[in-house]
């Protein structure tokens, strides 16, 4: 297990041993278990895994916007770790002024569903200006409007002066997603979390939106956490990759390593399921049988063992492989331990 190579870019956000539970009447569901991630300025962390493995919950936990009955049980979400400004977001209450100023101010969120993620009751301009003014209360309305027009232009919306007064339902899915990106950029954040930003879009629009995200991220030296279940998107966008399964990170590696020498059987299965980057995103893995088990029925030992083609009899079902250490690369698999 190699230590993380020395980064020239500063680390902007460190998630350490994050645990999120949903307390339901039927029992407690552990949706996210001991997740550790690092986001570096100007770099893209790809988070990949099948649907239901806890990607969105991780993103929301970072921002402190998990819906009841979910809550962060333990772990730290460190903004500017190791600096004098270090702030543990997990200790702040959800509606506190401090956390709200981080939300949208330092960390922008780009959502999955462009059709439903904007309110149809207000114009696009109204919703963007609200985001602008939430972090610059001294800004006047005309100034905020000018900034919103600039933002719309920046995300490649033609005729931003006119479109600012449009309602979301008057725009196509691609344009709405661009509006969503403009909104996430409204507070000039240096960290962006994009939760499956292209899943709901057609292939052509998907490519355009990814290109836009790439450009914005590079120009503004933004640390981007890109959540997807599509290995094609990972190949195109990511610098580092975290592969998630059932609420845990099972492999972490730089993107070239991951594609050249995937160490976890789950990663290999994910790679096999996408023959080329233009393939349709899939919710299930065709190359391995079965679906992700429900977090409440987590298999014993390695949670992937019932679906694993390389299961070691008498071992994987009984004992758990060592987790990927925080801040380092590796794979949580006995095979990876045998062949470092």
């Amino acid at each position: 297990m190699a230590e993380q190579p020395a980064q020239s870019a500063p680390c902007l956000l460190s998630v350490r041993d994050l645990v999120v539970d949903f307390r339901l009447d039927q029992g407690t569901i552990r949706a996210v278990e001991n997740i550790s991630l690092d986001l570096f300025a100007g770099r893209v962390l790809g988070v990949v895994g099948e649907s239901g493995c806890g990607k969105s919950i991780t993103a929301r936990a970072i921002l402190g916007i998990i819906d009841r009955p979910g809550r962060i049980v333990s772990g730290r979400v460190l903004l500017d770790p190791g600096t004098t400004r270090q702030l543990d977001l997990a200790t702040l209450s959800n509606d506190s002024r401090e956390l709200r100023s981080v939300r949208g101010g330092r960390i922008g969120l780009i959502f999955q569903e462009p059709m439903t993620a904007l309110s149809n009751h207000y114009t696009v301009g109204n919703q963007i200006m609200e985001a602008v003014r939430a972090h610059k209360p001294k800004m006047t309305k005309p100034e905020a409007r000018a900034k919103a027009v600039t933002l719309l232009g920046e995300v490649g919306i033609p005729n931003p002066d006119g479109r600012i007064d449009a309602y979301p339902f008057q725009l196509s899915g691609g344009l709405r997603q661009r509006v969503g990106i403009a909104m996430a950029l409204a507070g000039d954040p240096d960290i962006l979390i994009a939760d499956e930003p292209t899943t709901a879009l057609d292939v052509t629009t998907q490519a355009q939106i990814l290109l836009l995200l790439r450009h914005l991220q590079r120009d503004k030296k933004i640390a981007l956490m890109l959540i997807t279940h599509d290995m094609g998107v990972i190949a195109q966008m990511a610098d580092e990759v975290a592969v998630m399964y059932l609420g845990r990170v099972v492999e972490k590696a730089p993107v070239e390593h991951l594609f050249a020498a995937p160490r976890h059987p789950y990663t290999r299965a994910l790679l096999r399921s996408v023959p080329n980057i233009h393939a349709k995103p899939r919710e299930r893995l065709a190359s391995i049988g079965g679906a992700v088990p429900h977090p409440a029925r987590r298999p014993s030992g390695c949670s992937f063992h019932p679906r694993c083609p390389e299961v070691i009899a008498g071992r994987c079902a009984e004992t758990e492989p060592a987790p990927v250490p925080a801040g380092a690369d590796g794979a949580a698999c006995f095979h990876a331990e045998l062949t470092p």
Partner: protein, 330 residues
């Protein structure tokens, strides 16, 4: 948008015509005609009508002509504001309904205002704090409110109001003001009588409204646009009111259609129990006495108010729903 409006207006006009035909049928429903009933009514009080007078009356009301001509005559009088004569009161229908109409509206508006003031905040609280103690308490009270019949509540409140607070009970006026001309003293007397019936009428609606508001808002709170708004960093209170609560209020604009006739008729049973001189009991009396011009006029009034209410709710929806305003879908 104009298209949408024009279509709604056309439908409204057609509905009005249908209602007027229905009303006419109702008026003619009892055996015999109006003059027969009128004569019988007079006979009961000792006066008689000669055969010539009866014929003259029939000719005056067009009762000797075909049904279609009769409808035409009736509707042309209605349009001019002449709703015929109430036999029971021996006065023009307009006079009989007139005073009660706006008394009913005072009571109903107060009740409605109370309902919304109580129900909407509690509904919002129940949804936002789902499964909290407060939510369970509101749910419990709501179900009790739904389960108790209104008239029983009216009786209990009347008793409690009289016994413990010395409140005036029954009617909308004290005896000395009931028939008095309008004055500040009479208005004050009315103001003292309104709270009790308003509370009774409000409480039943409140329980229901809390449930509706809670369900609507719970639906909205789960929608992705709420997460988007949270991710912007605006405060929870502001976000709630601006996005999900506003969306959850939309169905209430549709409910306006049913509120309009309710405002006028009120609740008949509660009005009877509380002895309120409102339109509801009047309709009941008119039907029992087969006072068909009065009954028909009230039915016509309620029907037209429903149409107007529907139109108003369409306009409201158009105003608050940009999608309808801009695309004319509804």
């Amino acid at each position: 948008m104009l298209n949408f409006l024009a279509r709604r207006l056309l439908i409204a006009a057609m509905t009005c015509v249908m209602i007027s035909i229905l009303t006419f049928v109702i008026i003619r429903l009892p055996p015999g005609d109006f003059v027969d009933a009128y004569i019988a009514n007079l006979a009961a009080s000792g006066s008689t009508v000669t055969a010539e007078q009866a014929t003259a009356l029939r000719r005056e009301y067009g009762l000797d002509r075909s049904v279609f001509v009769q409808y035409g005559l009736w509707i042309s009088r209605v349009v001019r504001g002449d709703f015929g004569i109430s036999m029971m009161w021996r006065r023009p229908v307009t006079e009989v309904i007139g005073d009660r109409l706006w008394l009913t509206m005072v009571v109903s508006f107060s009740a409605l205002f109370l309902t919304w003031m109580i129900a909407l905040p509690i509904g919002i609280y129940s949804a936002v704090r789902q499964y909290s103690i407060g939510d369970y308490a509101a749910t419990l009270l709501g179900f009790i409110g739904l389960a108790i019949p209104n008239f029983l509540l009216a009786l209990i409140l009347m008793y409690a109001g009289f016994r413990y607070f010395g409140l005036a009970i029954g009617g909308l006026f004290s005896a000395e003001y009931a028939e008095a001309p309008w004055s500040w003293a009479r208005a004050w007397d009315l103001a003292k009588h309104v709270p009790l019936p308003a509370c009774v009428l409000a409480l039943a609606g409140t329980a229901q409204l809390i449930r509706i508001m809670r369900a609507n808002l719970l639906d909205e709170l789960r929608k992705p646009y709420v997460v988007t708004a949270r991710a912007k960093g605006i405060s929870e209170r502001r976000l709630l009111l601006k996005y999900p609560v506003r969306a959850a209020l939309n169905p209430f604009a549709s409910a306006v259609a049913y509120l309009f006739p309710y405002l006028v008729s009120g609740s008949i049973v509660v009005s009877l129990v509380l002895g309120l001189p409102t339109v509801g009991p009047l309709l009941l009396q008119a039907l029992v006495a087969q006072d068909m011009y009065l009954a028909g006029s009230i039915v016509l009034l309620l029907g037209l108010l429903t149409v107007i209410g529907t139109l108003v709710s369409d306009l409201l929806l158009m105003w608050i729903e940009p999608r309808i305003r801009l695309e004319g879908r509804g």
